[in-house]
C-alpha cells in the first residue's frame, strides 16, 4: 500500500473517531466475557470470531496511528501497520460480524463491536475493497432518490395491478383507493420493500383498520448502513424523510426490515413525524380494537425470532409477543430473554450478498437452528425481511421443518 492511500485511509479512520468510538477503542480490558456472545463463535469456535478479537483488529491500527504508546512501543499492545494484509483482516472481521450487538449486552463496559466494525467498513470502502454488490445496491438507492421520474409511472401502474389482491382480502369503501400513493394529507406513510409481499398484507391491514395512509415510492432498506457509508446512509434516508415532509404525514411506518427501522428511528429523531415499525402499528390496532383477529387458526406451536435491529437495537420486543398471543394460545419462546436472543446470522449485509455468503451464513448460525428446533415449533414467525430470508435458508439447510412466516402477513391472514 502506498503512502498516499494509507494517509487517505487514516483520514477516514480519523473521521470516525468521535466520542463513543474513542471510548470503545480505549476501554476494552480484553476480559473475554464476550467470548460466549457471538453466534459465529458459538457455531464455529475460532478466536477470530470473538467480539473483542474482531474489535482488536481495528484497535491495533488505532494504537499504531492514534496513540503515543502504540507508536513508540509497538509490541506492548501489538499495534499494527495499515497494510494490504491488515485490510484483508479488517474485511474478515467486519463481514463475519452481523452487527447484532449481542456482545454489547455481555460486555461489562457495553462496548459496541458494530460501531468499531463500522470503522473497518469505512476503511474498506476507502480502499475500494468493500463488497461490490453492497455499494451497487446503495448507489442504486441513491440514484432512485435523485430521479423519481424515471420509475414513477411504471411504479404507479404496477401498484394498480396489486390492488385487486388487496380488495379481494379486504373490501374497501366506494371511492377509496386500496393502495394510495403520494397522498398529501395522509396521516401515515408506509415504507415497504421491493417485493409485493411487503405491500399487499400491510395494505390489507391498514384498510381494515380504516387508516388514512399512503405508500412510499421508495424502499425502506438502507444499503448505505450495510456497507458502512455514512454519506450514502444519509442520502438514502433523506429520500424518505423528504417524502414524509412533503406529504406532511404524522407517522412514518417502516415495513418488516430491521435495519431500515433502526436507521430511521435513530436518525430521524428530530423530525416532525413519529417513526414506528409495522409491528408496533399492528399491536396498536389490536389494542385499540381497530382490527379483530381470529384466534387459534394456526396449526402447531408458534415461536418468534427477534430481529436484532428491531428488538435489542430498536426496542420492539413486547409488541410481536402481544400480537402472537392474540393469534394463538400455543406460543413458545426460543430465548428466555428477547435481549439475549441469538442473531439469525444474516445481518450486516450478509444476506444481501446472496449466495456468496450462503456457506458462511449456514455454518455460523447453527446455534440459531438448534435454538429453533428446541422449541418444537411448526411456525417460525419473524418481523424482518433479512431474518426471514436467512431463517428460510437455515430451514432448508438444517431441515428444521418449520414454516417461516412474516408476522404482518399472519395478522393479515387472521383478520376477522
Amino acid at each position: 500500500m502506498d503512502d498516499t492511500t494509507r494517509d487517505e485511509l487514516l483520514r477516514l479512520f480519523e473521521s470516525k473517531l468521535k466520542r463513543a468510538a474513542k471510548l470503545y477503542l480505549e476501554t476494552c480490558s480484553r476480559c473475554g466475557v464476550c467470548v460466549s456472545a457471538c453466534h459465529v463463535y458459538a457455531s464455529m469456535p475460532q478466536a477470530k470470531y470473538i467480539a473483542a478479537y474482531r474489535a482488536e483488529i481495528v484497535r491495533r491500527i488505532y494504537k499504531r496511528y492514534f496513540t503515543k504508546k502504540g507508536r513508540f512501543w509497538k509490541s506492548l499492545g501489538e499495534s499494527k501497520e495499515l497494510s494490504e494484509l491488515a485490510l484483508s483482516e479488517l474485511y474478515e472481521a467486519a463481514y463475519s460480524c452481523t452487527g447484532c450487538r449481542r456482545c454489547m449486552v455481555f460486555c461489562p463496559f457495553g462496548i459496541d463491536t458494530q460501531l468499531i466494525m463500522s470503522i473497518a467498513k469505512l476503511l474498506l470502502i476507502g480502499a475500494h475493497a468493500e463488497p461490490e454488490i453492497l455499494s451497487l445496491l446503495a448507489d442504486t438507492s441513491v440514484a432512485k432518490g435523485e430521479s423519481l421520474e424515471i420509475f414513477r409511472e411504471g411504479f404507479l401502474e404496477s401498484i394498480k395491478t396489486l390492488e385487486n389482491e388487496v380488495v379481494e382480502r379486504w373490501r374497501v369503501e366506494a371511492g377509496q383507493t386500496p393502495i394510495p400513493v403520494d397522498q398529501k394529507g395522509a396521516d401515515l406513510l408506509y415504507v415497504a420493500l421491493a417485493g409485493a409481499h411487503s405491500i399487499v398484507p400491510a395494505a390489507v391491514v391498514f384498510n381494515a383498520a380504516k387508516e388514512n395512509w399512503t405508500l412510499s415510492f421508495f424502499e425502506a432498506v438502507n444499503f448505505g448502513a450495510f456497507v458502512g457509508d455514512p454519506v450514502k446512509t444519509r442520502q438514502i434516508l433523506d429520500r424518505i424523510v423528504n417524502e414524509a415532509r412533503r406529504l406532511g404525514v404524522k407517522e412514518v411506518v417502516i415495513c418488516e426490515c430491521g435495519t431500515a427501522f433502526r436507521v430511521m428511528k435513530s436518525m430521524a429523531k428530530n423530525e416532525p413525524f413519529k417513526v414506528s415499525s409495522i409491528t408496533e402499528v399492528h399491536a396498536r390496532y389490536i389494542r385499540e380494537g381497530r382490527i379483530k383477529l381470529r384466534k387459534n387458526t394456526l396449526e402447531g406451536t408458534v415461536t418468534y425470532h427477534d430481529p436484532c435491529q428491531l428488538a435489542r437495537n430498536g426496542g420492539v420486543m413486547d409488541e410481536p409477543r402481544f400480537i402472537l398471543r392474540a393469534l394463538t394460545d400455543d406460543f413458545a419462546e426460543m430465548s428466555p430473554d428477547p435481549v439475549m436472543n441469538w442473531c439469525c446470522g444474516g445481518g450486516g449485509g450478509l444476506v444481501a450478498m446472496g449466495e456468496d455468503t450462503l456457506d458462511f451464513r449456514m455454518k455460523s448460525a447453527s446455534v440459531k437452528a438448534d435454538q429453533v428446533k428446541k422449541t418444537g415449533a411448526k411456525i417460525l414467525a419473524t418481523a424482518c425481511e433479512n431474518c426471514h430470508t436467512q431463517l428460510s435458508n437455515l430451514n432448508d439447510h438444517y431441515q428444521m421443518g418449520v414454516d417461516v412466516r412474516f408476522l404482518s402477513s399472519m395478522v393479515a391472514d387472521a383478520l376477522e
Binding site: L137, K144, S147, G154, S158, A194, C257, M353
Partner: protein, 80 residues
Amino acid sequence: MSDDIKADKVMDLKGLPCPMPVVKISKGIKEVAVGQVVEAVTSDPGALADFPAWAKTSGNEIMKTEQEGKITRFFIRRVK
C-alpha cells in the same frame, strides 16, 4: 416475448425477497457477453422501480420495458 428484441438470457425475478432482484440481475448481466441482452421478468413494484436506477448506476442499458398486467419485462443490454 417481444418480437423485435431477442434475449440471450431470461431471468425470472418474480416474488424474490429484498434485495435479490438487483443482486441477481447484477450477477446475471455478467454472465452474458458485452452487447448481449438479458430479459428480466418481475412482478414486484419495488423491483420494477429499482431497475432503471440500477441500470444507470451499473452502466447498463434498458432497451425496452413491457408491462402487461402484473408482469413487467425488462430487456437489458450489457454495456460494459
